[in-house]
């Protein structure tokens, strides 16, 4: 039972690729072996910066011989058929066996395949593995055409057993296999030959190479924590960094260094990020103060001065890095303390999305929305708007430019430096939350408002430009934004209808877009011949016309018309006019309509004519509304279903609640769904559904047959049976409980009252024939059924419940 050892020795393999590459090598080689009939007992993969190693133990020395019997044509088949069979089996006629079968004499071929020695198979399999290796990124080098992650230098491939060691011969692009490797690049570079895996691992260790990445990582962590502990400190855990560092060294030597006092006042996150990103250092924290005071670096070698030179060098590099960070920090603080105006200005040049304008425009919208949402959340409107205006200012800061992952956090520091209220500062950090399903949701009112406004703006605007997620594609993370908004609303128990919010955000977006369009138009006209006319026209357009939208839409149309007229009088504007007309029709008209419908009713109400016009416009506007806001709402509902399903609330239950009025208030919707879910878990609840469905079916059929709607007028005086009378009483009682409960949005009480109807309804169906011969009695009974369904439907649309 020989063992196999393979080592592919190359120039330094990126740390992040090593582990996966080891596994890929194992899979490619062992799969290839097994396919060729070479089974084995166990296999293991290892990697270092310069080598991928595979050990396979207890494998067959050769693939087993195989015999295959194949049935051919009849012995008396035409010559051609027999020839074909001979070709396909590679045998001659006299090698075929003739056998009597129930179908007559048939020809049989016996195909024997001799086993192949392991070395032959492995040579082929390994060459193929090398040539088809799935590196995430590969390259060629020199004048050759072989591709590897970095230049491949040698291939060690040996089979070993008690009898000795044998090199598996193969050659890939001029690299011939052998039984030698080399140790540490600097500490033991001389090549040496190996006999088997144990010999290999032992000799490597003597040559300052720890083969197993786990062992290196463990050694690094063990040594680091010990070293920190000895100084009363602790290492900040970072598993990703540990794995990466273990992939950068063959012989880890842990060194702990100091951070110069100058830098200790930098925010700990900045120290940590700078040290990790640039230097791959671990942070060492003082558990008493929480401050980062030292660092751990991992060198790749021992030195006669015990790493003193290396550590001094690393400390020096770190100082230069932190000097940069400090420079950014101090510059940023200066801008921050002066009010951050330059940062906000800069955001006017930063495109958020080609169709959605700049970050500054986005911030304007979010700020307006934050102001609108503040009362719902119980935040101060001024504070909410202020927070929204500042929350993304740090995107312009030097620190965030250098370390994008510190966005928000730096905002918090900088806003605090501006002596803003802590709630405003916190919003900068928290408004990005929740980032994932397990990320915490903000709870401070100002943070909640800004986080919600941010997400709603994102959703509405991407909806407006028709960039919705499709299938697995969600490049703008809109599903995450929707889930974030849902969780913020629910976990903060916010009562907030979504539709008006969606609408007003969309409106703001359109308005900002149209301003831009107008400005473009104006600048296109800024040629000298129009210079005289421009100021007045511009003023009319941008101020009188656009700004009066909100107060008096009627006047706006007139103002625009005046503007056009004026421009025509002053010079030849025919081209500009056409553009303006186009603009008016395409860009401004929908805004105008939106605005008109959105403005609150003037004191004294609208005139009849106005009302009529409004209705007319509203009808035109309906399709737009349904296209955007309703579609977005249904997207949010879909995300909500996924979210609630994870919490054990059935799909159909949510549907039954979504079908009710007020379904854009998510808190209300979920409250209803939970109450319904709870009641349906009881026996009464479950049976009530059956009763409801029965009532509903009978009623629907009767209505269809009779062409009459039975909805009103059930009277106890026409009741003939006790069951009927009992149901009347029960409905009266239930109604008396449900109505006030629903007004209080106390769904639990309402549902419980509904569940109490189960017994009287069951008894009614048991003892009463609905289709009584007496027409009056029948109509009364149908009207009674209608009372049941109406009452039930006032709580949720139970028709949508599946069972």
């Amino acid at each position: 039972m020989p063992d196999l050892l393979i080592e592919l020795f190359s120039e330094e393999i990126p740390a992040r690729m090593q582990r996966r590459a080891g596994e890929d090598l194992k899979k490619l080689v062992t799969d290839g072996m097994v396919e060729a009939g070479l089974t084995y007992a166990s296999a293991g993969a290892f990697s270092t910066p310069r080598r991928l190693t595979l050990t396979v133990e207890g494998m067959l020395a050769a693939s087993p011989a195989t015999v295959e019997e194949r049935k051919g044509p009849r012995a008396d088949a035409p010559e051609k058929a027999i020839e074909g069979f001979l070709r396909s089996t590679g045998l001659t006629r006299d090698q075929l066996e003739e056998r009597e079968t129930p179908k007559g004499a048939m020809l049989f071929a016996r195909i024997e395949k001799a086993g192949r020695p392991a070395a032959e198979i492995i040579g082929e399999v390994l060459e193929k593995a090398i040539r088809t290796f799935p590196w995430p990124k590969s390259m060629s080098w020199g004048a050759g055409s072989l591709r590897w992650v970095r230049p491949l230098h040698s291939i060690l491939c040996i089979l070993s057993d008690e009898a000795g060691t044998e090199v598996v011969p193969l050659e890939v692009d001029g690299i011939a296999s052998g039984d030698t490797t080399a140790g540490h690049r600097f500490m033991a570079p001389a090549p040496f030959s190996v006999l088997n895996f144990d010999d290999y691992a032992a000799k490597l260790k003597r040559a300052y190479v720890v083969l197993d990445p786990e062992e290196r990582a463990e050694a690094i962590w063990h040594e680091s924590t010990n070293m920190a502990f000895a100084s009363g400190l602790e290492v900040v855990e970072d598993k990703g960094l540990l794995a990466e560092v273990a992939g950068l060294v063959e012989w880890p030597v842990v060194l702990m260094g100091r951070i110069a006092d100058d830098f200790l006042e930098l925010p700990p996150e900045v120290l940590q990020t700078s040290m990790k990103e640039h230097q791959k250092f671990f942070s060492v924290r003082n558990p008493k103060t929480g401050r980062i005071e030292r660092f751990i670096t991992v060198a790749n070698r021992e030195t006669v001065d015990n790493g003193a030179t290396i550590l001094a060098g690393n400390e020096k590099v770190l100082s230069a890095r932190l000097a940069d960070a400090k420079f950014f920090w101090e510059n940023d603080l200066r801008v921050a303390k002066a009010g951050m105006q330059p940062w906000l200005e800069q955001l006017k040049n930063v495109t958020f999305h080609a169709k959605l304008g700049t970050q500054a425009e986005r911030i304007d919208r979010i700020a307006a929305l934050a102001r609108e949402l503040a009362p719902v959340v119980g935040a101060d409107a001024d504070q909410a708007e202020r927070a929204a205006r500042l929350a993304k200012a740090d995107l312009s800061s030097e620190m965030v430019y250098e370390f994008p992952e510190l966005q928000g956090l730096m905002g918090r520091y900088y806003i605090s430096a501006l002596c803003e209220d802590a709630a405003v500062a916190a919003a900068a950090e928290e408004h990005y939350s929740p980032l994932g399903p397990s990320d915490a949701v903000p709870t401070a009112p100002v943070s909640v408002v800004v986080a919600l406004a941010d997400k709603i703006d994102t959703l509405t605007c991407f909806w407006a430009i028709d960039e919705k997620p499709t299938g697995s594609k969600d490049p703008f993370a809109l599903r995450r934004a929707a889930l974030g908004a849902i969780r913020i609303v629910l976990e903060n128990n916010l009562s907030m209808p979504m539709l008006p919010v969606f609408l007003s955000t969309y409106l703001d977006f359109l308005r900002s877009q149209s301003f831009e369009a107008l400005n473009t138009l104006n600048s296109a006209r800024s040629g000298p011949e129009y210079a005289g006319a421009l100021p007045s026209a511009k003023q009319l357009l941008t101020q009188d016309a656009l700004l009066s939208f909100t107060s008096s839409p009627r006047d706006t149309k007139a103002a625009l018309a005046r503007a056009i007229e004026e421009m025509q009088q002053e010079s030849n504007w025919s081209v500009a006019d056409a553009a303006l007309d186009g603009l008016f029709a395409s860009e401004l008209a929908p805004i105008h309509t939106f605005e008109w419908l959105m403005v609150s009713e003037p004191e004294g109400g609208y005139s009849d004519a106005d009302d009529e016009a409004r209705n007319e416009e509203r009808q035109k506007f309906e399709p737009l509304l349904s296209r955007l806001a309703l579609h977005l709402l249904s997207f949010v509902h879909d995300r909500l279903k996924v979210y609630l399903r994870d919490q054990g609330i059935r799909h159909d239950i949510i549907d039954a609640c979504i079908a009710m009025e007020g379904n854009d208030d998510l808190t209300l919707l979920v409250k209803r769904a939970r109450a319904l879910s709870d009641v349906l878990k009881t026996e009464d609840g479950e049976n009530l559904i059956q009763g409801f469905k029965r009532a509903n079916n009978i009623l629907t059929q009767a209505q269809e047959a009779d062409g009459v709607e039975y909805s009103y007028g059930a009277d106890v005086k026409f009741a003939e049976t006790d069951e009927e009378r009992a149901l009347f009483t029960a409905l009266d009682q239930a109604e008396a409980k449900i109505k006030p409960a629903m007004e209080q949005q106390d769904f639990a009480t309402a549902m419980a009252a509904l569940a109490e109807l189960r017994a009287p309804i069951d008894a009614f169906f048991e003892g009463v024939k609905i289709n009584a011969d007496n027409a009056t009695v029948r109509r009364n009974r149908l009207n009674l059924l209608s009372r049941i369904t109406t009452l039930c439907s006032s709580v949720a649309d139970l028709r949508r419940i599946d069972r």
Binding site: E11, E12, P14, A15, R16, P49, K137, M139, S140, W141, G142, A143, S145, V149, R150, P151, H153, F186, L248, V249, Q279, K280, F281, T297, A299, N300, R301, T303, V304, D305, T309, I310, L311, A312, G313, N314, K316, V317, L318, A320, A323, D324, F327, N349, V350, T351, A354
Partner: protein
């Protein structure tokens, strides 16, 4: 830094040693290219010569300009004008890593005391339409060189592949000489009668250029020059391959490439003046890249780029 018997004494000594080392290893020692460039890679001895089938081995110092990095000579590590040492060997020899490490020893890095590491860093130049795989080389945690196997330049696949080494000379020298502020670094031997520091040579110019780069450079002029260089580059390349005067086949890849370099530098200056918005940035870089690709297309049509008369068909 530890005591070393053969430690260099000055910035220039480090440069001279590198020159001697790579000369001994068979490189043609070239002089800096006589135009403003952002990095040693822009030298046609790298950009163009990495293309085509001909062998090549060259090393040179290249003054490099990064207008946005100017700090008026006050930052210990940042300069708007600095030196890169550049080595390009095609095809890349199998012992390039060892050759490189030998060069570190030659300039006084004691391999027994320092921690040298090859850390993944894939190089990409969006302006040149070029990329390669390799590493940043770390010495005790400091990046001292960039080591790249060119895979593509100007949109052309590289075959054979060039190995490129780029040393950031000031940073490397400061480390070897144990200097904390670049302006304090001895430029020549500190024992000579007229000892000059890096600051003596460059403090004045760093100040002047920082002011000019950030605040004074005439953006209209820069913009015009960018456009002119772009137009001219295309005009040069549009000229027929056969020179009407001499009747010879002369593809003017290098003169065109000069215009590409110029456009790139104008873009860097405009960038430092802060007049290029984030969205425009990409567009400008794309325009320079287009020029670089056209120049690369032209170079492979030259004899030096591997063109042969019989391959014309």
């Amino acid at each position: 830094m530890s005591k070393m018997t053969d430690a260099p004494k000055s910035f220039q000594e480090i440069i001279l040693r590198l020159q001697a080392y790579w000369a001994a290893k068979g490189c043609a020692i070239l002089q800096p290219y006589d135009m403003e460039v952002g990095a040693g890679t822009f030298h046609p001895a790298t950009t163009l010569r990495s293309l085509g089938t001909q062998v090549w081995a060259a090393a040179y110092v290249q003054p490099s300009r990064r207008p946005t990095d100017g700090r008026y000579g006050e930052n210990p590590n940042r300069l708007q004008h600095y030196y890169q040492y550049q080595v390009l060997i095609k095809p890349s020899p199998p012992d390039l890593q060892e050759l490189y490490l030998g060069s570190l020893e030659a300039i006084g890095v004691d391999m027994a005391l320092h921690d040298i590491r090859f850390v993944e860093d894939d190089w990409e130049s969006p302006t040149l339409g070029a990329w390669g795989l390799g590493w940043e080389v770390w010495c005790d945690g400091m990046e001292v060189s960039q080591f790249t196997y060119f895979q593509q330049v100007g949109g052309h696949d590289c075959h054979p592949v060039s190995g490129e080494l780029t040393y950031g000379l000031e940073r490397l020298a400061m480390y070897i000489l144990g200097v904390d502020h670049v302006m304090d670094m001895p430029f020549n031997d500190p024992q000579t009668p007229i000892a000059l520091s890096y600051g003596d040579v460059f403090k004045q110019t760093e100040e002047e250029y920082a002011r000019w780069n950030f605040d004074t450079a005439d953006t209209d002029v820069l913009l015009r020059q960018f456009e002119e260089a772009e137009t001219h580059c295309r005009e040069i390349l549009d000229a027929p391959h056969e020179d009407p005067k001499t009747g010879k086949r002369i593809v003017m890849a290098h003169p065109a490439y000069d215009q590409c370099i110029k456009a790139s530098h104008m873009f860097n200056l405009l960038d430092a003046r802060g007049v290029i918005s984030v969205t425009e940035r990409q567009a400008y870089i794309g325009r320079v890249r287009t020029l670089a690709k056209l120049c690369a297309d032209a170079f492979v049509q030259t004899t030096a780029g591997g063109w042969q008369p019989d391959s014309a068909a």
